[in-house]
């Protein structure tokens, strides 16, 4: 059985011309990247598209990967950017893209359009409610609470200060709970629950 090779070694091998090494990178990270994109974008097909974009971008930019960050950090950054790009495209992509369209300016970044069709009060689960969390908070929240990524690493992925990450995670959690219809009771604050409840 082959011992697991570090990502950076696979990158090195691919840059030397070994396409199998790239395939192994894709297979190793496909599941994680897919789940990241799925939770950020909220749609399986969009997530699949974003993953394809991610790995094509990784392939294209791999020579720019200097190894000064862990490959996983760098790849997550590429993936998050692919999700942001897809969010933008989803809101403005015409059915038929003709020559010259790519020169049009991108519209400003905003949250993806949530699909409210399946909403009904009280039935939100966390996954459905995630789509209602503002995108910047949602990305930080997914990385922290679904991917168990350390705040320091999230800061590197998103290229923002660590304090910003912590704030986004907190704000994202609060927004998620509200989107799930959780009220401001304090059932899980044991130190104060008894005296605060009427």
């Amino acid at each position: 059985m082959d011992p697991p090779e570090p990502d950076e070694e696979l990158v090195r091998r691919f840059l030397l011309g070994d396409a199998d090494a790239f395939e192994r990178l894709v297979e190793r990270h496909r599941q994680r990247v897919y789940n990241l994109c799925l939770r950020v974008l909220g749609d399986p097909e969009d997530a699949a598209d974003a993953v394809q974009d991610t790995f094509l971008s990784v392939l294209t930019k791999l020579r720019q990967f200097r190894g000064d960050a862990a490959f996983t950090t760098w790849m997550h950054r590429v993936a998050v950017n692919a999700c942001y790009d897809l969010s933008r495209k989803r809101r403005r992509q015409p059915l038929l893209r003709l020559a010259g369209d790519q020169d049009l300016p991108e519209s400003e970044l905003g949250a993806p359009v949530p699909d409210h069709a399946e909403e009904s009060a009280g039935t939100h689960d966390a996954v459905a409610a995630l789509r209602e969390v503002p995108e910047e908070f949602r990305v930080a929240l997914v990385l922290a609470d679904l991917h168990d990524m350390a705040y320091e690493q999230i800061a590197k992925v998103l290229d923002v200060p660590i304090g910003t990450v912590k704030s986004r995670v907190h704000r994202g959690r609060v927004a998620l709970a509200r989107a799930m219809g959780i009220t401001n009771r304090e059932p899980e604050a044991p130190a104060r629950a008894s005296e605060d409840q009427p």
């Binding site: 030397l16 395939e23 094509l56 893209r97 679904l146 912590k166 959690r173 609060v174 709970a177 899980e188």
Partner: protein, 260 residues
């Protein structure tokens, strides 16, 4: 005191050092807003902890892997790469294609595009693109970036892309993968023509059709046509256009192009 949002995340995680935790709890004692938020954040964190991982489709990343193989095959790096090089997989098929081209050049010089065939046999580096004659079947779910990549990768490499390397991929892939009912070459071309001719104001596909691929686009069974457009007067093609049509109803899915 302002609300310590950045500390509240770690407070909920239970990851604050003793001093900071005590400071947060002092704040919570006097701040109803933050108490409420801590309760909400705890509930959200617990809810997310029970969200299961979703299995990724097994073909995810196939377009990038195929592109990586194409690059590795057409641009082998100096030095001996460890493991099995990409060309190894295609060498046999490429040899078969080369033999087939030779047979075509010798036996059927009057069929199809004879000058192109002759040129391909005689001078691969400057060969004109061969017109497509068959449908490649790919188990790939393209997206817009994938289609753009297809156009870009076809740009300025007529000899490589439409010569032995890419043609070689037709043989093993088409033989082993059948994501949808196989479409005949004639039906595929008809579908592309219909998709890009019927809407008013759209031009009929122009240029030389050099590849026809049966795959999927955003999950929809699709036909991808790769066309080379030349400025004329015997000049080499300087535009690669990729048209994508649904193979179900021959509607337009997307198109893109790359210029030399």
């Amino acid at each position: 005191m302002s609300h310590p949002d950045a500390l509240l995340a770690e407070y909920v995680d239970g990851a604050l050092a003793e001093g900071e935790r005590a400071a947060v709890e002092r704040h919570l004692a006097s701040c109803e807003r933050c108490r409420d938020e801590v309760a909400l954040a705890r509930a959200a964190r617990a809810a997310l902890a029970s969200v299961p991982e979703t299995p990724a489709p097994s073909d995810l990343g196939a377009a990038a892997i195929a592109e990586a193989r194409r690059r590795a095959g057409s641009h082998p790096a100096a030095g001996a790469p460890p493991g099995r090089p990409a060309w190894y997989r295609w060498a046999g098929a490429a040899a078969g294609i080369a033999a087939a081209l030779l047979v075509v050049a010798l036996i059927l010089p009057h069929v199809g595009n004879a000058p192109a065939t002759t040129a391909a046999a005689g001078d691969a580096a400057r060969a004109a693109a061969s017109p497509a004659t068959s449908v490649e079947t790919q188990n790939v779910n393209y997206d817009l970036s994938g289609v753009e990549s297809l156009a870009t990768s076809s740009r300025g490499q007529e000899g490589a892309v439409f010569g032995s390397n890419d043609q070689a991929t037709q043989v093993p892939v088409a033989a082993s993968v059948t994501p949808e009912k196989r479409i005949s070459f004639a039906d595929a071309v008809t579908c592309l023509d219909r998709a890009f001719t019927e809407p008013t104001g759209q031009q009929a596909p122009e240029g030389q059709l050099v590849r026809v691929i049966q795959a999927r686009y955003r999950g929809v069974p699709a036909i991808l046509g790769v066309y080379l457009l030349s400025p004329g007067a015997g000049q080499p093609a300087d535009i690669v256009r990729v048209l994508v049509a649904s193979s179900r109803d021959c509607s337009i899915l997307t198109s893109t192009q790359a210029t030399a």
